[in-house]
């Protein structure tokens, strides 16, 4: 019997779902094994609940979403949060440091129509999440890796160590050491394939903190390298700023400034 796969979206840009659609060649491996039960970005066809696997993109940002995620959880055997929004709150969690109304007033002609929660938060703050796939966007190979493992009946596994380890395995040259550029790789979880260092720019932490992430120590090192507090704050105030280790750095060096 085919595995029923559903793809849901909360506060997000759709980029992670797009990675599924981008699996042009790889998706062949999945055909005949999974059945798309719900995936609005791909098809308006909808199958009855329950689902075997729910991939959830996006952060929880409104009251409606809060309710909806509980329903999805109740109806899915495995719930997998995909992407920086679903696993860390995403770029929209930047507003967690400011007052919502301030933004709404500046952005919308009728701010009173905006009905959101005070904070944008990851799925795991609301319901039990079985697995997380990190990244902004997720790496399609890693997503396929997890799905394939689940489908074949193996406990899904992805490495949780630093990006540096992957960076070295890939044979990149360290840009911190050889170029003097700051990089979040030493505290960020592997999985992207060390893409940024490969193109000679520092990792900006879109995969979020690794296991036992020493974000504060790295921030201190950046200060010792001569970066300003504001620059350090901006390094950590990105795609996964609301993850605990990154949040600590932002509070320490950035406080309430935007």
């Amino acid at each position: 019997m085919n595995i029923k796969l559903a793809v849901f979206k909360f506060a997000s840009c759709d980029g992670c779902q797009l990675q599924i659609l981008n699996m042009e060649d790889e998706i062949l491996q999945l055909t005949g094994k999974i059945e798309i039960a719900y995936f609005m970005e791909a098809t308006s066809r909808k199958l009855e609940e329950p689902y075997d696997i729910a991939l959830v993109e996006g952060s929880i940002s409104t009251k409606w979403q809060e309710k909806h995620i509980e329903k999805i959880r109740a109806n899915s055997k495995y719930l997998i949060a995909i992407g920086a929004c679903a696993t860390a709150g995403g770029i929209q969690a930047l507003r967690n440091w400011s007052k919502n109304e301030d933004y709404s007033k500046k952005v919308y002609p009728k701010p009173e129509w905006i009905d959101t929660l005070a904070e944008s938060k990851p799925i795991s703050d609301y319901v039990n999440v079985d697995y997380e796939v990190r990244g902004c966007p997720v790496n399609k190979d890693q997503l396929l890796w997890i799905l394939s493992q689940l489908i074949i009946g193996k406990e899904p596994f992805t490495p949780t160590h630093s990006l540096c380890i992957q960076c070295k395995i890939e044979g990149n040259t360290c840009i911190m050491v050889a170029d003097g550029k700051p990089c979040l790789g030493p505290i960020t979880m592997a999985g992207c394939g060390a893409l940024c260092p490969k193109y000679n720019r520092g990792c900006y932490g879109c995969f979020g903190p690794m296991d036992a992430s020493q974000a504060e120590k790295l921030a201190e090192h950046f200060i010792n390298m001569g970066m300003s507090k504001r620059e350090v704050t901006l390094m950590f105030k990105g795609f996964t700023s609301w993850s605990k280790p990154f949040r600590k750095v932002v509070s320490k060096y950035g406080g309430d400034e935007d």
Binding site: I152, T173, D179
Partner: protein, 368 residues
């Protein structure tokens, strides 16, 4: 274990110039060796296939300091962020495939003859260590690769800032584990053989023996280099002394800046930890793949029901004591060759020489 008074090897020192080095290169190449040597790759020197000796970084120097690496114009380079380990123990390597009918296909081992050309003495010593760690313990890929390996080592006339091979007894003049060595002295190249194979090939080059004056210069230059490539500790009783600090509170202080990123273990030519992943390709097979791993990762010492080293300082202690102490009981040698890579490529520049010194000082002051 320095160069003082060491007898010259069987053939003795023979003298040639850069063209003779090219002849040696060509001879190996024509004999079917794939030649792996240092080559400028962007802003670092990496060990790569050399098609011609012109690719060898002759006019380049690597400026190294803790957490710092820059290439500059110069006349001597040491090393980059990779090492022979990359070839002997590849960063990711398929072991076998389990097909959908549950039959197993082992990976075919590519039949290549490799010659390392121009690696330094520390890296040559690292291969001897890997022989013990992987070779003697039955890594079939390693054994296969190693059987045909030919090693041409360059003696270090100018050690770098982070080099301490002299203290570890592994350089800067190569003592064993090589086939041919060469040394750049006064615009000449001095050759020496370290194995029967090496002797045979050097004889083919028909080079004259170095005269007494040159031999003296050779010894002088390498002795001076040995003085430079020193740390403030000695190898004698190092393992035994360091272990006395196992319960010391000093590890917390030493690991204060450590990020647990694992870069030190990745660049270390003798670190051999690996993890095994099963990669699923639904329609075809599952692949069992070996990846480099590190004792700095949180999960490394996590086992069912507990964790041996949940604290980062304990992982730092494991790394240092394994290299400099436990290795001795495990393999009857030390695990560090003093190449300095872990110092250079640590993003926060933690200096293992200083760490060892501090531990020894703690032992002197606290253990009696």
């Amino acid at each position: 274990m320095h160069t003082r008074g060491l007898p010259l090897k069987k053939l003795g020192l023979v003298i040639g110039d850069w063209r003779d080095l090219e002849r040696l290169f060509k001879y190996l190449k024509d004999s079917g060796y794939r030649i792996i040597g240092p080559k400028v790759d962007g802003n670092v020197i990496k060990l790569k296939e050399l098609k011609s000796l012109r690719e060898f970084p002759k006019q380049i120097s690597d400026h190294q300091a803790p957490g710092y690496y820059r290439l500059e114009e110069g006349d001597f380079f040491r090393n980059g962020d990779d090492s022979p380990k990359k070839y002997l123990f590849p960063p990711k390597m398929e072991i076998f495939k389990v097909n959908r009918d549950l039959s197993i296909s082992f990976r075919e081992i590519e039949k290549v003859k490799i010659a390392f050309f121009g690696i330094k003495s520390c890296d040559t010593a690292s291969i001897t260590i890997m022989d013990k760690v992987l070779g003697e313990r039955g890594d079939s890929f390693y054994k296969h690769f190693r059987k045909e390996l030919f090693i041409v080592t360059e003696n270090c006339i100018k050690p770098g800032e982070n080099c301490f091979c002299s203290s570890m007894g592994t350089g800067p003049r190569v003592q064993s584990g090589f086939d041919i060595s060469f040394t750049r002295i006064d615009g000449k190249i001095l050759f020496e053989a370290g194995s029967e194979r090496g002797v045979k090939i050097l004889e083919k080059l028909k080079l004259p023996h170095a005269n007494a004056k040159l031999k003296k210069k050779f010894i002088e230059v390498l002795e001076k280099a040995a003085e430079k490539a020193k740390a403030n500790f000695e190898k004698r009783f190092l393992a035994e002394k360091l272990e006395l600090a196992i319960e010391s509170p000093i590890w917390k202080e030493l690991a204060e800046k450590c990020l647990g990123c694992g870069n030190c273990t990745m660049v270390c030519p003798t670190c051999f930890c690996f993890d095994i992943y099963d990669e699923v390709f639904l329609d075809e097979y599952s692949k069992r793949v070996r990846y480099w791993d590190s004792c700095f990762t949180y999960k490394h010492a996590e086992v069912a029901g507990g964790h041996f080293r949940p604290e980062l300082w304990a992982r730092y202690r494991q790394w240092l004591l394994h290299k400099f102490s436990y290795w001795k009981r495990q393999f009857d040698m030390l695990g560090c060759v003093g190449c300095g890579r872990c110092i250079t490529w640590c993003p926060v520049g933690i200096d293992i020489r200083k760490a060892v010194e501090k531990v020894l000082k703690w032992v002197d002051e606290n253990v009696r």
